[in-house]
């Protein structure tokens, strides 16, 4: 076998159609990021609250293996399925939910030409796949046959109608600005100026809607621990609970990538040591997404929780207005010839 040609398993893995769903931004990096971000969330919260946080598992790394230890504990604890639940939904709902949460990554390109789906509407594909998951969540909440699950699921339903409109509108504002629905073209258009500087209104609306969509503080309303036990995931235990918990972090991961591509320039500006094509520009996306995720989890230690009516009001009164203003700003920028 020649030294220059990679053996077929490696070249197969490096194909974008395999690499993107399975490695990055797909399953492998997702799993590692989830473990890292849960640790980071606990550590940041602890630092803001002036205490230590996880410390003893992998002591040299500051307790970085704690989420992994927690995961092992979850997997080996007893899986309880309550008698009166809808068993099919109860068991397969979380798996479906996780699948729909991770599915949008297939539309995320890593560099010009390195994408699993070469499509000129990849932005719409990602957004459409992102907004499917909450329907399954309602199904899971209903199937649990528990009042807290139902309340949590309905709260998520209320929030769903209030965040999806701002998300889609602010994304469309950016699409109007870049005159494209293709994530590659959108990222390439930000080689000079990032979207967040062109249209900060859209970025703010999208960021806040993203917080609601992923159930981060101050919008952790559907799982409000102090009010409704664990919200829609109350009846779950063991591995299925872990899957439920991972779902919200997975959505955060996916939406942080979307935010990076649309507002933070994607792989731009590319540092000199990275090639301009292939999969390596994805490193820039990963770094920026991690920064966005870090900011999102930091808010846990800063904010208390809004009531559900406050959350819905913010969605409709503030974010909807803000995203409409963002569209107006985009149209103004394009029409006046300042941009595009």
């Amino acid at each position: 076998m020649s030294a220059l040609v990679a053996p077929w398993p490696i070249s197969l893995i490096l194909e974008p159609e395999v690499f993107i769903p399975l490695v990055y931004p797909g399953l492998v990096v997702l799993t590692l990021t989830l473990l890292g971000i849960i640790w980071l969330e606990r550590k940041l919260t602890a630092k803001v609250q002036r205490r230590y946080g996880p410390l003893y598992v992998a002591r040299k790394l500051g307790g970085a293996a704690q989420p992994m230890a927690d995961g092992i504990k979850f997997v080996f604890s007893e899986q309880i399925i309550p008698r009166n639940t809808d068993k099919l939904v109860f068991i397969f709902g979380p798996l479906l939910l996780f699948t729909f949460s991770i599915l949008p990554v297939i539309g995320i390109p890593l560099s010009p030409g390195y994408t699993a789906i070469a499509s000129d509407i990849s932005l719409l594909i990602v957004v459409a796949l992102v907004v499917i998951a909450p329907i399954v969540l309602l199904m899971v909440a209903w199937g649990s046959n528990n009042k807290f699950s139902l309340i949590g699921g309905l709260r998520d339903g209320y929030l769903m109608i209030s965040y999806e409109v701002p998300i889609i509108l602010s994304i469309l504002a950016m699409a109007a600005l870049y005159n494209s629905l293709d994530l590659i073209e959108i990222a390439e258009a930000q080689a000079g100026t990032w979207g967040i500087f062109l249209n900060p209104l859209a970025a703010l609306a999208f960021f806040a809607a993203m917080l609601i969509a992923t159930g981060r503080f101050p919008f952790e309303i559907a799982e409000a621990e102090t009010e409704i036990v664990a919200g829609w995931t109350t009846e779950y235990s063991s591995a299925l609970y872990m899957s439920n918990m991972g779902t919200s972090y997975t959505r955060m991961y996916v939406m942080a990538h979307l935010f990076t591509l649309v507002f933070l320039g994607g792989w731009n500006p590319l540092p000199g040591f990275l090639p301009a094509s292939g999969l390596l520009p994805g490193l820039m996306i990963l770094v920026k997404s991690l920064a966005v995720m870090g900011l999102m989890v930091l808010l846990r230690s800063i904010y208390p929780r809004f009531r559900v009516d406050q959350g819905v009001r913010i969605g409709w009164h503030k974010l909807f207005t803000l995203s409409m203003a963002a569209i107006a700003l985009s149209v103004l920028l394009v029409a006046s010839g300042v941009w595009g």
Binding site: K47, R50, Y52, L55, S301, I302
Partner: protein
């Protein structure tokens, strides 16, 4: 109204970031580092069997009924049950001959109930440090403004080990 709310959001985020970047921690990772306490700390109580006059005032004063009198060689001596003791210090205050005194130790977690009970001989030892602390003692002090401070208070020959331990702990935690 809206403006003041925006300002409040920004102020909240600023406070969070300020604590994230510039605040020291207020807690200490207990068995490895401990809070340094004052000499007059109301910790575990030590009995001086020679001074004790068996007056039983300590047992009468004890609000939690933690002190019980034992008979040893014809002499009555107090014994203490740490499962009941609330560390109020009344027994120390009331003792007319100063046979009881506080120590600075406060490690009263035991494996079973029996170990909580200190008959006079054990009571006279004043309680042992139940934890093994690698490298001697790393003391921490909680400063009102600066937060958690690490203090070296150890035997001279163990100083090097203590220093390593301090570096180890401060690498995990705060940078002071």
């Amino acid at each position: 109204m809206t403006k003041s709310r925006t300002l409040r959001h920004l102020r909240a985020i600023r406070t969070g970031v300020k604590h994230l970047l510039f605040s020291n921690r207020l807690t200490c990772p207990y068995p490895d580092a401990r809070q340094m306490v004052s000499e007059r700390y109301r910790g575990m109580i030590r009995l001086n069997m020679d001074k004790c006059t068996s007056c039983m005032l300590c047992a009468r004063a004890c609000p939690a009924n933690a002190i019980k009198m034992y008979v040893m060689d014809g002499k009555k001596l107090p014994g203490l049950d740490y499962a009941r003791c609330i560390f109020c210090g009344f027994c120390v205050d009331i003792c007319p001959v100063k046979a009881l005194e506080h120590t600075t130790l406060h490690d009263v977690a035991y494996l079973d109930y029996k170990e909580n009970q200190f008959p006079p001989e054990k009571f006279a030892e004043g309680g042992k440090d139940p934890y093994y602390v690698p490298g001697g003692v790393v003391m921490v002090e909680i400063h009102d403004k600066k937060g958690l401070l690490y203090k070296k208070k150890a035997v001279e020959k163990e100083e090097k080990i203590v220093k390593e331990e301090i570096e180890h702990v401060s690498k995990e935690g705060t940078e002071t």
